[in-house]
Symmetry: none
Subunit: 399 residues, 2 copies
């Protein structure tokens, strides 16, 4: 088990922590909001009350200037150094589809693509074929049999799919076969090891099967990664943790960190609240709650939708607060500024309510208030020690 | 010698630095002060003048969320990474009693305890015997002779004492014998090395001697640690450093960092001022001044006493300032919030006056003003470079 200072000092107590992530909540001033951010423009009486009775700060997801994907951003929030604990994109994609990975599995993302008669790639996305078409092609590829390994293929969306190889002694020292540009051949898989051989066979067989399936007549493989065991926050921080998330990828990353997955029905914040209620009754003391729509709105550059997503979260907050948490943290995993329509590196507002805090520094939950908040700014991976300390779950270091 | 960038750049100059530590000065808003902290509520005209003519900031003692003991907290202020330079509890206790440790000594804390006829611990503190009784029992244990080592036993307080083994080749790979609970036997010391053998013999002999001394009829040993040489700040930073502290533990930690101990008479801030005056006359250029009562008041949750301790320090400050320091720093080693009655992880206000500073950002010395101070927030172990730089004691790095 990875063992740092926090792990040494962590102790089991009865106190309960809620870590609520409004995905992509951070933003930058939007011209259409007169220079405000969606979080500033949204009506959030519940969050503002928590802020005025708690402490605000900003977290830096990875390090200044670094824009994280969802995987590293969440790992950092869970107390993992997101650079040291790297999740391969293949693994992340498989987790996102709730494929039941086993340790040692080699995973890669598939892009269906178009090649011409000379084998040169003419479209790296095969004209963005429909998801239905993708499912149909994946069915064909699922028939591929390779000696010494089990092979699983599953569709993701449009031209994207995933392949998992399961067997002894696989490694992920394999470069993407994506040429990056059209007019070039896919990159050959070199090397004499088992993994290279398996991947080469798979590509050859896939090419044979897809030969007449224009525009999806070949595949490109990317993001080769081995699914490895992570030290769980259950062991590291002596928590009994669970996740209430509606999207598979977030459940997957939480599972990687050792959280149990809660069944959320109906598929909305009410369903999540019900699941959290039951979890607390059965002894869980750390809940990761994930709220997705703010990020999706940010990626679409849809300011009203982002405001609506934040306000919806605010409206449902009381049904979580009334369950009896000792420490409540609300933050985002990263910023997704509407003007950028992308994830970004901008620090993310954090709110901690409960436990001994320097209260009285902030009145509302916003990017600007967070900058002058009592928590100051800190790396996302330092959030967990702050939450554990606030909940009385960390012993003193030294005499 | 440990050598980092600061060590490489440090140069000897005539400038003088005062590092004044108001122990446990940081706090959180107190309900009984209408949401102010003791530091905010205290009348501190001297500190406020220093603040308005200097620069404020906050230091993070170890890392976010980590609550330090006095040992690591002070080491960090002296420029040591408090995680890398770990002081064992046994060593800290011996330093606290001003026992004259030698490098290589193996130290452990003793708890007198009560065991029943089956050897099961019935009271881990022997009914908290009086200090007088403790001194009497220590006298008996001091007679124990063990081959190959010198053995020293001394009393601390009530049921607590210390033992020091001195000899070649000792190590501290020995687990606490404290069972942690009553109704269990003390944990056996296992292993075939010299240290294990010595400790086993000591425990056996102690058991024989204490046999009829109910309730203190056995001992538990904890915090085994070897006293190791630390690189001194004299060598690291080219300082001639001394400590003016009224309590042994702080003198001990300062001595570990290579400071000379000043004799303070009378036993108060006036005595400390007199000692510092004489020290400056004899060529010392770095003074660590320690003021304890604010921490004691915080641990008692005694708000008026904490305010009084801070005001007392403020009143005596001129007798230090007039001695002619080029740089004066006032801070705490950690926060000891009255509502918690404990050390905490909350960042600690720092004031630096003297040398080229971005003055004019702050008007008073308080937690809140420190958050928006020109020094921003930084790890405690980075304070020394800031003080050395302010005093013109650090050369430029690179061309």
């Amino acid at each position: 088990m990875y063992k740092g200072l926090t792990e040494e000092l962590a102790r089991k107590t009865d106190s309960r922590i809620l870590l609520a992530v409004i995905d992509g909540v951070g933003d930058i001033p939007n011209a259409e909001l007169g220079g405000r951010t969606p979080l500033e423009a949204a009506e959030t009486p519940q969050l503002d009350k928590l802020a005025s009775e708690g402490a605000l700060g900003l977290h830096i997801p990875v390090s200044p200037g670094i824009t994280p994907g969802s995987g590293p951003a969440h790992l950092a929030l869970f107390g993992y150094d997101p650079v040291a604990f790297d999740i391969g994109r293949g693994v992340l994609a498989a987790l996102g589809m709730e494929f039941d990975l086993e340790y040692g599995d080699l995973v890669a993302r598939i892009n269906f693509c178009t090649v011409d008669d000379d084998g040169l790639v003419t479209d790296r996305r095969a004209g963005r074929i429909s998801t239905e078409k993708c499912i149909e092609l994946v069915e064909l590829l699922s028939g591929i049999e390779i000696i010494d390994v089990e092979t699983f293929v599953f569709s993701v969306k449009q031209h994207r799919a995933c392949v998992v190889f399961r067997g002894e002694g696989l490694d992920d020292n394999i470069k993407d076969t994506d040429p990056g540009l059209t007019g070039k051949k896919p990159v050959n898989v070199t090397g004499s090891g088992k993994s290279a051989r398996v991947v080469r066979e798979f590509i050859t067989e896939a090419g044979r099967i897809l030969h007449r399936k224009h525009p999806a007549n070949f595949i490109i493989l990317r993001g080769f990664s081995i699914y490895e065991e992570f030290p769980s926050i259950r062991d590291r921080f002596r928590l009994t943790p669970a996740v209430a998330a509606l999207y598979p990828m977030y459940r997957g990353v939480a599972r990687l960190a050792g959280m149990d997955v809660l069944k959320c029905e109906p598929w909305d914040l009410d369903g999540q609240a019900g699941a959290v209620k039951r979890a607390l009754e059965t002894g869980y003391d750390f809940i990761f709650l994930h709220h997705k729509p703010a990020d999706s709105a940010g990626e679409d550059g849809n300011v009203p939708a982002k405001i609506k997503a934040i306000e919806e979260f605010d409206r449902c907050l009381p049904s979580f607060l009334k369950l009896g948490f000792d420490v409540v943290c609300v933050t985002g995993d990263h910023s997704t500024p509407c003007p950028m329509k992308l994830h970004s590196w901008h620090p993310v507002p954090v709110l901690i309510n409960g436990g001994p805090q320097r209260v009285g520094y902030s009145k509302v939950f916003s990017e600007k208030e967070a900058l002058s908040g009592a928590l100051d700014s800190f790396r996302a991976m330092d959030l967990m020690p702050l939450l554990l300390a606030s909940a009385g779950k960390l012993a003193k270091f030294g005499a």
